[in-house]
């Protein structure tokens, strides 16, 4: 039985990992783009992004996931997500990427605004372009500043992947729960917890490593 459960959980973990990685892949650049929107001097754009961030942060992720997965099928009369596991995972990644990008954007904005104006001005008087100033001066200083708050969000993301169960994506928590439903077993639930702990443990080590790496400057 132990091996059956382990195998099931590993399957679930694969899905969890897939949601996690793709969400990060899309939400990090999207979050940066939204951060620029939040800092834009063009007011209509800034207000639009502020409203988006308010709506996304102000409503439950689970609700957003349900709307994104079931909405298109009900409004458009044909479902844009294929009915198989891939479709469920894709819908989950879309909902998560938008949600997390909004949280990230606020963190990124804080990271950029926290850098002294003098850094940008020093670049300007040296004849650098705006993009040179961003990529050569601002970006790394921002990354250093946002690592601690980002590590919080990213660890939360690991556990939020369990929400995908609501649209029947077979992720880690679903896998553990299914043994309770089918065989009345509770120990797989604790075993599932161990999987999450190891996942988050590895991430924590990774974040510590990044913080150490970026410790070479102040």
């Amino acid at each position: 039985m132990f091996w059956t459960v382990t195998q099931s959980l590993l399957n679930g973990l694969a899905t969890t990992f897939e949601i996690f990685i793709f969400t990060l892949l899309f939400s990090l650049p999207l979050g940066l783009a939204l951060a620029f929107g939040l800092m834009s001097k063009f007011r209509p754009l800034r207000y639009l992004i502020q409203v988006l961030v308010w709506v996304i942060r102000g409503t439950p992720l689970m609700l957003q996931l349900i709307i994104i997965f079931y909405g298109p099928g009900l409004w458009l009369s044909h479902n844009i997500w294929s009915g198989n596991e891939t479709g469920r995972i894709t819908a989950t990644v879309v909902a998560f990427a938008i949600n997390y990008a909004c949280y990230f954007s606020v963190i990124f904005r804080g990271g950029i605004e926290g850098i002294p104006v003098g850094q940008r001005e020093a670049g300007q008087v040296l004849g650098m372009t705006r993009s040179q100033i961003f990529f050569r001066i601002t970006l790394l200083q921002m990354v250093k500043r946002v690592v601690p708050p980002m590590s919080n969000e990213i660890i939360t993301l690991v556990k939020d992947t369990s929400l995908a169960r609501i649209i029947a994506a077979y992720e880690l928590t679903f896998a553990g729960y299914s043994f309770m439903k089918s065989a009345g077993l509770t120990w797989p639930l604790f075993y599932t917890g161990v999987f999450y702990l190891i996942f988050v443990g590895i991430l924590t080590l990774l974040f510590n490593y990044i913080e150490r790496k970026l410790g070479y400057f102040r």
Partner: protein, 261 residues
């Protein structure tokens, strides 16, 4: 002919007038000191010259070329603005070194980025980058920082950081080097090393504008001096004359406060 001509510069932030009717010129190879109490507009003037602020009136010309004229409402493209900025170098009160780069990288960064725009950069990449590296090393050696080239800013003292910042500003060979209170953020025992460097630059006939609170230094190093108060130039002339024999009452009062220490 003067290398720099500044005519009737005006700047206001909202209803507050910060600069009014500021005119002066500077000869090549000369050093100009700007003195005055805080809030008198000295720093804003330097920021206008470096295009960090846009004046509301007046004009600025370098070597006879008008870089800025408020009466011509031009929306500048970044490219032109960058070119104009390169006439001026700027050393900030708080250094503003890039913390993630070593002293040498701080000095060479802008030059490396500019080199990428050269048409033959791709073919001569190695050669060009080596030249830039060597140039940066020479500059840091001139600043007495040969042993500190590969240190990061946080590993350097304030005086060393400011000397790196001076090397960084010199790297692009600006026509005019501006100093915004270069020693005001330093501990008293560290001001000497920075002033020594500026003094040697003056000896080498670097064209400079120095905003400073060091009166003795201004008197000894600068050729001319401008005293500002309330956004206007109250008195300007030969540095020694103005500081030792001020004609205006306001200048006298200001200098007297400094003499008392």
């Amino acid at each position: 002919m003067a290398i720099l001509e500044v005519n009737n510069i005006e700047k206001h932030f909202g209803a507050t007038k910060v600069l009014e009717n500021v005119s002066f010129s500077l000869e090549e190879g000369k050093a100009l000191a700007i003195i005055g109490s805080s809030g008198s507009g000295k720093t804003t003037l330097l920021r206008c010259l470096n295009f960090l602020e846009r004046p509301n009136g007046g004009s600025i010309a370098v070597r006879g070329e008008t870089l800025f004229d408020a009466s011509v409402p031009a929306r500048e493209h970044e490219k032109e603005l960058r070119k104009k900025r390169l006439h001026f170098g700027m050393v900030f009160q708080a250094f503003h070194l890039f913390p993630q780069y070593t002293a040498l990288e701080n000095v060479t960064l802008a030059e490396r980025l500019l080199a990428q725009e050269q048409p033959d950069f791709k073919q001569r990449r190695r050669e060009i980058l080596q030249e830039i590296e060597k140039h940066g090393q020479q500059l840091l050696e001139r600043m007495g920082l040969a042993e500190r080239m590969h240190h990061y800013p946080h590993q350097l003292s304030g005086g060393q950081q400011q000397r790196v910042a001076i090397a960084r500003a010199l790297a692009l060979q600006p026509d005019i080097l501006c100093f915004d209170e270069p020693t005001s953020a330093l501990d008293p025992e560290l001001t000497g090393e920075v002033l020594k460097v500026i003094r040697s630059l003056a000896k080498q006939r670097t064209t400079m504008i120095i905003v400073t609170h060091e009166m003795a230094f201004a008197r000894d190093v600068a050729d001319s001096v401008i005293f500002m108060d309330g956004g206007v130039i109250v008195e300007q002339g030969d540095a020694r004359d103005v500081i030792e024999h001020p004609r205006e009452e306001r200048t006298r009062q200001f200098l007297a406060r400094y003499a008392q220490g």
